[in-house]
Each structure stands twice: as structure tokens, then as C-alpha cells.
Symmetry: C2
Subunit: 493 residues, 2 copies
């Protein structure tokens, strides 16, 4: 006799197996697929989306969820049931017609955006984005009624379960205060520094080999994943087979290298999830913010650590030959340059949060109905001037058209990037308390202490605890944005 | 109001979309997947196999098939319905329990075979193969009852629809007569020839570039497919996105090069299927034999054509530098060497059919219950001695353990290879009648006449006609094995 819990768990395994094929086909679409394959691939992925949604909202599920809650379950099963219910509630809140309309509108907007952005065509883009926003508001309505949350909070909950905009605002309020001053101070300080630029070209083959060496240094398991190329770098695949991508430009090796180190953080999180539970929601990465805390632990906390340049330098010499720019002190200065710019994904660690504050404010107003698409450019220009002292008027392509998130219908995602930076700073503060010689060990190239701390407190925990409990258990306190400020002041001033 | 035919067509499109994800994941498993990904991938593929089988045997189908047959249909729809019914009958003949038992037994046998073969471990292999054969006989029983065919014919029909072992025997009987003498005569003739061996090594990167050039020469559409590497070369993916693979050894470039040309024949068939009908069974490749007739048209009819060496030679010089072995006359002699050997996949065009005669006789006896697994080695040794004058006693790994087909449960497949060689010879005989200057054109590097003939008579026809009608319409006569004999005599004597 199968218990309701066992039935639910079997259904989750089925979703995991079918989702595996979906994930590999999506990776392949980005990394391998020739142009003429796209139409058939899109139809195949849409078919699977429909099938997965159908399985995720099967009419037997409410009864099974209720029955399982009355069964004798152990702690793991309890936590898993909580996650199964959470995922089911979100899927079930949306009528099938809305799911389909959303998929259509988002695909249309994102597809057109790919040519509209380089053409700076805001007038062409705005009507599509209006439709995407209209549907996102409907989605937010449905989720909000089902979960008893505000509209924006209901979307935020999809990416950062349990987080509310009030919590984000609590974390971001001090940031709003100290960030502009810190940026000014850091720029003033760095103005006196002497930095030698590396001299290229840096052949793609050498950069690839360097990236693999860096992944090795960061402990990536190549028997359970690989590195390939795509236009937009990402970490995809499945926990059992992680597919990272990057892109190369021969005049500069740092974007690809630091991108690879960033994605390796995502990749090791996935590789480190509890294998014995894979297929169940309890074994999934906790949230987008926690995920980003791993990539930023790798890229920023470790990758821009003053001692890390000493570990990277010999690899650069090995793959590109010696040059004075690779001297560790100079390399560290290169890795920590701060310069306000238009583009979020190119931003340094210090100015990055400004890009997020701006987007968080605008997207929350859009979803809550306090702003419309036509208001975006003026809001954008005002905040860019205020936060980064940059003039973006009329420059839509490097302004509100620069990210794929809104055209793709992803509202509520942006805050996770800076929450991730805050979590990462908090992890390293906790690590330093527990391992006082941490920085000396990093200088010696002994990164095992960092990795085992992350594995113990984040990777193997997966979704066993809700985020506040995960954070409390890992660091001994709730989310505390002061660690991020201290980290930046210490590293940059 | 949806007609029964429209309902069936929509179900076929759904199967096509889900099968797309399955095909890409299978290609990825062979071409990219790291070792630790295999368990999760196998589970994911098995889940999809189950789902596809479930959709293919849905209880609504018999009623829909009957209703559709009574609806007013055009010729295309009639032909498509015939194919839908054929595929449904084969899927429906097998009980779910047998499908699962077969999958388990075949996977177990094939997996163990991968280590047993190099160890020459017939004693370890035989019990697994016995189980695979037991289940293949059950499968043949089920199919045979459903289709009113003998057991072996019921399996053969899966790969070569409409072909019966009596038809195979009719085509193979003359071959049995003339092949041993022809092999002797060719060897005697070639013994007097002077052949210069190419001098390696041939770097993998240069071989890859050469392969891409050869695919270009053969008209492969790189916007709808790609070439990668795998341990066992194959042509996979989907018609909209063909995934070819090859493997490289640096001491010899010919296996990879001719392998690529062979797979390009399969690839262009897939790329040339009628796009407007893709997703429906009428738009699928006709059979394994017709498929092989395309790869052999490319590899043997064209690739070993005396004039083709003149097209290849400049490519070899371009990628490896000049050497005397690349002189066209010598290159042609290299490409047409005949030498009896143990291994089917390494065999030349002349001795290859001997490997098929042997396997056809043995597997037919196995399936019809006239031989058992323990009889295989003696049967093999006897036939290898008789057909190729080779002693294979005790050499299981280069004998009955060399192919993946039987361990994987594929009985009834082998004859398709030689039927394909016969069809290919028949296509070129017909082409020469219609295009008397064909050979001169090939010498001029004008291959378009060959490709457009194949596109018109085979690729775009797909499964519109049953095989005998396809063959008759294409060549003006039924399958006529005399063309294959004439082709070999003309090329090799």
C-alpha cells in the first residue's frame, strides 16, 4: 500500500526526470543548436512546459497533500512535504490560459527585444513590454490571492521564498544611505593608484584552458559537469550534470575568467546538493538569493580577495606568458577597479548594488500599479543620475532595455542579486569567526576550508530549512546587511 | 469539430515534440555527458520511453484509427494514416511488462558487454544474451501474432517495413554464389597493385577541419546540424537539427573521413525529409535499408568513385600538406583496398556483405528457435571460414561479441546494411540511365545531379510510399541485386 507521501514523492521524481530532459535541451539550445533548429526546439520545449504544468497541477494533488500531512513523517519528509506544497501552490494558482498567454507574450517581447535593443528602439519595445507587464500583474494577482501577499511580494516569493519587499527594504535601506558616499570615496582613493593594463590579444584556446584550470582550483567536479560557450553565460543542466557556459573576447581575458569563477560557484552548489534526495524539492537549491551567494562567494569574496591574485597569477603566466600586469599586487588592483557604468552585468562589486536598487524600486512600482511602462525612462534617468551620477537620457539600449529580465517577464528577481552579495559577506564573516586563520589559508591556496563550510552550511542543506533558518544556522544571526558594508569598506578603502 | 484524423495528427505532433527532447538528450549522452551524469540521464530517458509508449498505445487510438479510415482523406492523409496505424500496431502488440523487461535485460546485457567484450569473456556474456534472446523471442511472438508474420519477419518488419526473410533471401541467394569468388579475384588483382601508404600523424584538429570541408562538399546544411565526437559514430538528433558524430585516431585519417562522408548521407536524408510534414509518420525516413542506401550512396557510390579521389586530394593537401600518397590514383587505390578481416565495421565494400550473410543466417535461426546462444560460436567459426577463409575460433571479442546489436536486443536489423548497399547500387544505375554524363560530372566536382536525384526520389518521398513502390518509382524496377554485383565487378575488377 503506497502512502500519500510516497505517491507525492514518486510524482516529484517523475517531474525531476522529465525536467532533466528539458534542462539539457535548454542548455543545448544556448550552447550548440544551429539556427534552423530553433523552431522545432521551441515547440518541443513548449510541449514539455505544458506537460510539466499539467503534472504539477494534477487534480489528485490537493487530496494527496492533505492526506500526506496526516501521515507519520520524519523531519526530512516533513520539510519535503512543505516544499512540495509550496511549489504546487504556485503552479496551481495560475489558470492554464494565463500560463499560455504569458509564454506567448514573453517570448514575443524577448524575441523582438533582441533586435530592438541594439537599435535603441524604445518606441517599438514599449508596447510589447506593456503586454508583458499586463500579464505579469495578472500573474501577481493570482499568486497574491492564493498566498495572501501583496502583488510584488507574490512574485518575489517565486525566486526568494519567504522574502517580502519589507524585508528587502530593511536590508536595502542602510545601503541607500552609505552606497553613494562609499562609491565616491573608493573612486577618489583609486584615482591615486597606478595600474598596469594587461597586453593582449589573449587567444580563445588559452582562455579556455585557463578557465578549466580556474574551475579545477575552485574544486569543480568535471566528472559531473562541463564548460562550454554561449552568447549569454549561465549555469544550467542538472545537479547530476552541471553545464556551465562562458563567452570569450580576445582583447580581454578577465570577463571570461571571472565569469567562469562566478558560474563555478553556482555549479558547485548544484553539485553539492544532497544526492540521496535528488528528485525531491527538499534537495533543490534554496533560492535565487542563496544561489547568488554561492557565485559571489566564489567570484567576489574569494576571487577578489587580495590573496587570491597570488593564486591566479601563476595560471595567467602559464597560459599567456609572463607580463608585468600579472604581478599579484597589480592583478588585485585590476580585479577591484571601481567605475560607475551603464551596464549592470559589467559592474564592479561596489557599484553593482546601485543597479539593483534602481531596478527594485521601478519593478515594484510597475507591479503594484504605481508606475507604467511609459514612466520607466524618466524614473531610470533620475535614479542613474542620483545613484551613479550618469546621464542615460535617450540611451535606452544601455538603460532600461539592457536586461533580459523584464522582456522575459521576470519581475521580482533583481533583488536576489544584492541579497546574494549580502549573504555571501555574511558567510565569510561567520567563516572568519570559526576559522581565524582563513585569510592566511587562502593565501596558501588552501581553499578547502571555504568549500567545506559552504558545503556543510548551504549545499547539503539545500531546501531542508526555510531561508531565515538556513541563515541563522549557518551564521548564527538573521540576514545582517552590515556584513556587506564592512566587507566593501575593508576591501576598497 | 476536430476530425479523428486531425486528432491523430495532433497526437503525432506531440510525440514528435517529446521525441525531439529524447533524441537531443541521447545525442548529448554520447557526445558530451560526463560519467557521473549517466545514472540520472538513464532514468530520465527511461521515464520518457515509458511516457512515449503510454501515449503511443493510448486506449483512444483504435477507435480514432477506425473513424479516421472512414473520413474523406486526401492521398497524403491516406498514406500518413497507413503509417500511423503501422507504428501503432507495433507499439500496441507489446504488453507494458514485456517492454519494461526488455529494457532491463537489454540494458544489463549491453552494459556488461562493454567490459566483457575486451576481456573476450564469452562465458560471462552468454547468460545475459540468453535472457535478451528469450525476451526477443517473446517480442517476436507478440508481433508475429499481431501482424500474421513469422517470428523473424515480425522483427525484420520493425526496421524494414514490408520486407520478409523470403525477400531478403531472394536478394541474398545470388550474393552467396558470386561473393566468395569475387573476393578471391579482387584480392588476386590488387596483389599486383602498388599502393603508397599516407604518412602520419594526422592531428585531430586538421582532421576535424577536413571533415567539415568534406561535409560541405557533400552539401550538408550546417544551419540545420553539426558534427561532434563520440566513441561510436552515429547520425542522431532530429530532422530539423541533425547531430552527426565521428571519432579520430591520429595515425590514420581515412576512418574518420569516410565515416563522416557516410554519416553525411544519413544526415542529408534527414535534412531533406519534407519539412511541411515533419511531425507526421509520413515524413519519416522510410526504413533502415533505405537510410543505409543514402549513407552508402555517399560513402561508397560517390566516396569510392574513381573520380572522387580527385575531389578529395586537394582537401587532403590543404589540411595535411602534400604527400605522394594523396595523388588521386593512389588515393583511389587506398579507398578501395579489399582485405578480409574479423570486424564488420572495418570491412571494405566487397567483403562487408559476407559479414551480413553470416549474421542474418545466425540471427534468423536464433529467433525462429533453430539455434541457441551456445550454438553461436561454432556457427560463427564455420561461416567465417567458409565466407572469408578466416579462423575465429576462441576469438569471441572479434567474433560474435563484436557488435552492439545482439546485446542491445536488435535482431532483424543486420540485413538492412546489405539491402542498403543493393539499393544504393540500383539508385546509381538508374541515375546513369537518366543522366548519361553522370560520371563526367562527378569528375568535375558537380555533385548536384546526384543530390537532386536522391532528394527527388528518396528524401522528399520519405514514407509516402511503401518500400517496393518507392523503389519502383525511383528506379523503374523492383529491388534488383544484380546492380550491386555489377557495381562491385566494375569498380574492383
Amino acid at each position: 500500500m503506497t502512502s500519500a507521501y510516497q505517491d507525492l514523492a514518486a510524482r516529484q521524481r517523475r517531474l525531476h526526470h522529465l525536467g532533466h530532459l528539458q534542462a539539457i535541451a535548454q542548455w543545448d539550445q544556448a550552447a550548440n543548436m544551429p539556427a534552423k533548429g530553433n523552431e522545432a526546439r521551441s515547440l518541443a520545449l513548449a510541449e514539455m512546459d505544458g506537460l510539466l504544468h499539467q503534472l504539477a497541477t494534477d487534480s489528485a494533488l490537493p487530496g494527496l497533500l492533505d492526506s500526506a500531512a496526516a501521515e507519520p513523517l520524519d523531519d526530512t519528509q516533513h520539510a519535503n512535504l512543505r516544499e512540495i506544497r509550496r511549489v504546487w501552490r504556485a503552479a496551481n494558482a495560475l489558470p492554464q490560459a494565463l500560463v499560455e498567454a504569458k509564454s506567448l507574450a514573453n517570448n514575443r517581447c524577448e524575441h523582438a527585444w533582441r533586435t530592438q535593443r541594439p537599435a535603441n528602439d524604445w518606441a517599438g519595445f514599449a508596447p510589447n513590454l506593456r503586454e508583458v507587464l499586463r500579464i505579469a500583474r495578472q500573474e501577481a494577482d493570482c499568486l497574491s490571492q492564493s498566498a495572501g501577499l501583496s502583488r510584488y511580494d507574490a512574485l518575489l516569493d517565486l525566486y526568494e521564498p519567504g522574502m517580502r519587499s519589507s524585508g528587502v527594504e530593511r536590508a536595502f535601506a542602510p545601503l541607500r544611505q552609505w552606497l553613494p558616499g562609499l562609491i565616491r570615496d573608493v573612486i577618489a582613493r583609486q584615482a591615486t593608484e597606478n595600474v598596469i593594463e594587461p597586453v593582449g590579444p589573449f587567444p580563445t584556446a588559452a582562455q579556455k584552458a585557463l578557465g578549466l584550470d580556474a574551475m579545477q582550483l575552485m574544486g569543480f567536479d568535471f566528472a559531473a559537469g562541463r564548460l562550454d560557450e554561449s552568447t549569454h553565460p549561465f549555469c544550467g543542466g542538472v545537479p547530476e550534470d552541471v553545464r556551465m557556459t562562458t563567452r570569450y573576447r580576445e582583447d580581454d581575458f578577465l570577463p571570461a575568467l571571472m565569469g567562469v569563477i562566478h558560474e563555478t560557484g553556482h555549479g558547485r552548489y548544484e553539485q553539492g546538493l544532497p544526492r540521496e534526495l535528488l528528485g525531491q524539492p527538499i534537495a533543490r537549491a534554496r533560492s535565487m538569493g542563496i544561489h547568488e551567494s554561492q557565485s559571489l562567494s566564489f567570484e567576489m569574496q574569494l576571487g577578489s580577495h587580495p590573496a587570491f591574485a597570488g593564486l591566479l597569477a601563476p595560471l595567467l603566466v602559464k597560459h599567456f606568458g609572463a607580463q608585468s600586469a600579472f604581478e599579484p599586487g597589480n592583478l588585485h588592483r585590476l580585479l577591484t577597479r571601481v567605475k560607475p557604468g551603464f551596464i549592470r552585468v559589467d559592474a564592479d562589486e561596489v557599484t553593482y548594488p546601485a543597479h539593483i536598487l534602481l531596478r527594485f524600486d521601478i519593478e515594484r512600482a510597475l507591479i503594484e500599479g504605481e508606475a507604467e511602462v511609459d514612466d520607466i525612462p524618466a524614473l531610470w534617468d533620475g535614479k542613474m543620475a542620483e545613484l551613479l551620477d550618469l546621464d542615460t537620457r535617450g540611451n535606452f539600449k544601455d538603460g532600461p532595455m539592457q536586461d533580459v529580465h523584464w522582456p522575459a517577464g521576470l519581475f521580482g528577481y533583481f533583488p536576489c542579486y544584492t541579497l546574494g552579495a549580502m549573504y555571501a559577506a555574511q558567510w565569510f564573516a561567520a567563516m572568519r569567526t570559526q576559522q581565524p586563520d582563513l585569510d592566511a589559508r587562502i593565501a596558501d591556496g588552501e581553499l578547502g576550508g571555504v568549500f567545506s563550510w559552504l558545503a556543510t552550511h548551504v549545499w547539503r542543506v539545500a531546501s531542508r530549512y526555510e531561508t531565515p533558518e538556513l541563515v541563522q544556522r549557518a551564521s548564527g544571526e538573521p540576514l545582517n546587511p552590515a556584513h556587506f558594508e564592512m566587507h566593501l569598506r575593508q576591501r576598497y578603502l
